[in-house]
């Protein structure tokens, strides 16, 4: 059986307030799970807790049946790109690329392919601080994807790209998943999530509202041809009604 990432009953408290409650789901190699939800739903907290950057108040994360406890455990499993993080502005793109290759230990040819597909190779001589926002994001994406680690966690990886750029970036994500990497990403734009995700995790108020493939979520709200945006809105309204009731 292929190694599976299991998030089991994960809860996180920040400044005495519970921001995640009892989140559970599983991620298999090749899966692309998009975490969606309104602002403040706990998307970033969930990703940070999974990769070990925020301590869980409850629950745990296992990979291949082993509970991930220490930094070295998490480091062996995850490659992580934080939200709005930028590559160091003082370093050249070449330095950032070399650093990513050194520590990501990607399989042969992956670095070359990613450089080509994400267009970062041509930026190599430039200082990262002088790049446009989109270019910086491509470099950061390269650093996260250029790895042999089995799970890549990306916080809002698509937010800065325009539709044309997305046409270049989304296939790269799909290819990484097809190669067996499990991708977990938080996505703000539902249309972007719909294009790339094999499974959707809908989060609201720190709790899981729904988890499954788009078809399953459509079935749940009884809207067989609805877009993800409509489905998520329906799910969130349904949850609100439940909470009020």
């Amino acid at each position: 059986m292929a190694a599976e990432l299991v998030v089991d009953g994960l809860s996180v408290a920040r400044a005495g307030r519970r921001v995640l409650s009892d989140v559970s789901f599983a991620l298999r190699p090749g899966d692309v799970v998009a975490v969606v939800g309104p602002n403040g739903a706990g998307k970033t907290s969930l990703l940070q807790a999974i990769v070990g950057l925020v301590r869980a108040a409850d629950g745990h994360v296992t990979f291949d049946g082993k509970v991930l406890r220490s930094l070295s455990h998490h480091s062996a499993v995850f490659s992580y790109m934080p939200d709005d993080a930028e590559p160091p502005g003082e370093a050249t793109v070449h330095t950032v690329i070399a650093h990513a290759e050194r520590f990501g230990r990607p399989p042969p040819h992956l670095a070359g392919e990613l450089k080509e597909r994400l267009g970062v190779g041509r930026l190599a001589a430039q200082r990262a601080g002088r790049l446009s926002r989109g270019e910086k994001r491509r470099v950061a994406l390269f650093a996260a994807l250029c790895t042999a680690r089995p799970v890549v966690v990306l916080d809002e990886p698509l937010a800065t790209f325009d539709p044309l750029q997305l046409l270049e970036v989304l296939p790269v994500l799909r290819e990484r998943a097809a190669a067996g990497t499990a991708l977990l990403l938080s996505v703000h734009q539902m249309s972007d999530a719909e294009k790339v995700a094999s499974q959707i995790l809908v989060l609201d108020g720190g709790a899981v509202v729904a988890f499954g493939a788009l078809a399953a979520l459509r079935a749940r709200v009884d809207r067989s041809d609805a877009s993800l945006e409509v489905v998520v809105l329906e799910l969130l309204r349904g949850r609100e009604r439940d909470v009020r009731a």
């Binding site: 940070q48 990769v51 070990g52 950057l53 301590r55 406890r69 220490s70 930094l71 070295s72 998490h74 480091s75 062996a76 995850f78 490659s79 992580y80 790109m81 934080p82 939200d83 709005d84 993080a85 930028e86 590559p87 160091p88 003082e90 370093a91 050249t92 330095t95 950032v96 070399a98 650093h99 990513a100 050194r102 520590f103 990501g104 200082r127 650093a143 996260a144």
Partner: protein, 434 residues
């Protein structure tokens, strides 16, 4: 990884700005030093006996390094703290930690890069001393190197404190403030000398950086001072390592913090026991005459000197910096006891007839004096031990009076105030824009 970290440090404006500011401070100290040294040297030209007093280590090197001490203390922590804090402010810290997977490696690599950046402060004193030597001034290579070794150790200490502060705080501003406060805490301890209100801090003198730097600035390589700086540096790095361990829960982090503080405190206290020193000055002028040293080493049992003088009494300071320092080079096991330090209030409040006594113990005998003269105290040690006083002859340090004036002075002033700071600024401008 080092290339990335080095780029973050060396392509930051603050790195070059601190180097240029430090160069100005150091340059100012250097120009004042050559002016004072030259003024004195003019008199020495007519009075040969005065020449021996002209010691470039104390007259030129030490005042020049004085500016470096100030700059390293205030500006060094900025470079060190920024190397790590910037990752937190850019939100790349967690991802970097995960990417590397080894917190210690992260801390050490960042520290190495920060050291390289802060070490730019050493450029100015080195170039200025080369300039002094080029215009004909004298420099003892080994004794000057010892003074620089002391500052290299201090540089490592300041850098590691900056790194520890950055590891335990969230922003650069917080880290810089904490680091500068910790580094300058040593100044408060130093201020306790001669300032009754801070006399209670006098017992912490062993924790002052100056206590460890001063002997080495005078060309004496002290094992204990080197070990102390190394142990505090290692302790600060260990604190930084605990600080970046975000995978540890709060109780374990606090426990690790306390453990590191305890171990560092113990190690640095033990470092003080390493009293062995090596006089690397020219003509061994920091030591007692060779014959006296040999005879002192041959004295049986432990030697002790009891000093009934307040910590802020000039006679006590003179005794410690001269007689005791020289005696310790010959006999590292010398005990110096100051009963006045045990009193809760400054001794001048209840000075009695016994105040000012210096009691020496050697070979079972005891002698007493009110003099703090080196020769008197050494003589009494031999008398107490019932041994004859050995031959006191010692090769005289010739001294190196040297006058810098006219075009030479102008050239040195231009180098100190303009050439070096501007070169550093220009190098920084080019590097940060390339």
């Amino acid at each position: 990884m080092f290339a990335r970290e080095l780029a973050i440090v060396l392509r930051a404006r603050v790195t070059w700005l601190q180097a240029a500011l430090s160069a100005l401070l150091v340059g100012h100290g250097f120009v004042l030093a050559i002016d004072v040294y030259s003024a004195g040297s003019r008199s020495a030209a007519t009075q040969r006996l005065m020449a021996g007093e002209f010691d470039p280590l104390l007259g030129i090197v030490r005042p020049t390094l004085g500016g470096l001490y100030l700059a390293l203390s205030l500006l060094g922590p900025l470079v060190a703290a920024r190397a790590l804090s910037i990752e937190k402010e850019r939100r790349t810290f967690g991802a970097l930690l995960l990417q590397i997977g080894a917190p210690l490696r992260l801390v050490l690599t960042k520290t190495g890069a920060a050291l390289a950046g802060a070490a730019l402060q050493l450029v100015a004193p080195m170039l200025l001393l080369v300039a002094w030597w080029t215009v004909g001034g004298h420099l003892g290579a080994v004794e000057t190197a010892v003074a620089f070794v002391a500052y290299l150790l201090y540089l490592a200490l300041v850098t590691s404190i900056g790194m520890a502060a950055a590891a335990w705080t969230e922003t650069f501003a917080q880290a810089a403030t904490v680091a500068i406060l910790v580094v300058t805490a040593s100044w408060a301890i130093d201020a306790s000398e001669g300032f009754a209100a801070l006399a209670w801090l006098g017992r912490a003198l062993d924790w002052s950086v100056t206590t460890h730097l001063t002997p080495m600035e005078r060309g004496t390589l002290l094992l204990g001072a080197c070990l102390w700086m190394a142990s505090v540096t290692a302790g600060a790095l260990a604190l930084a390592w605990v600080g970046v361990r975000i995978d540890l829960d709060r109780p374990r982090r606090i426990a690790a913090l306390v453990l590191v503080l305890l171990v560092t405190g113990t190690a640095s206290a033990l470092a003080h026991r390493g009293r062995r020193g090596f006089d690397l000055t020219e003509d061994r002028r920091a030591s007692l005459p060779g014959g006296v040293e040999e005879a002192l080493r041959a004295l049986p049992g432990r030697l002790a000197v009891e000093v009934y003088l307040d910590r802020d009494d000039a006679r006590r300071r003179q005794l410690e910096s001269d007689t005791v320092a020289k005696l310790r080079l010959a006999r590292p096991d010398l005990d110096v006891i100051a009963p006045t330090d045990m009193r809760p209030e400054p001794a001048e409040l209840d000075r009695d007839a016994g105040y000012g006594r210096v009691v020496v113990h050697a070979g079972g005998g005891t002698r007493e004096t009110h003099s703090t003269s080196r020769r008197e105290i050494v003589t009494l040690l031999f008398e107490a031990a019932g041994r004859p006083v050995p031959d006191w002859s010692q090769s005289e340090y010739p001294g190196y009076p040297f006058v810098v004036d006219g075009m030479q002075r102008t050239a040195l002033v231009v180098i100190a105030y303009a050439a070096i700071p501007l070169t550093l600024m220009s190098a920084g401008w080019v590097l940060t824009r390339s």
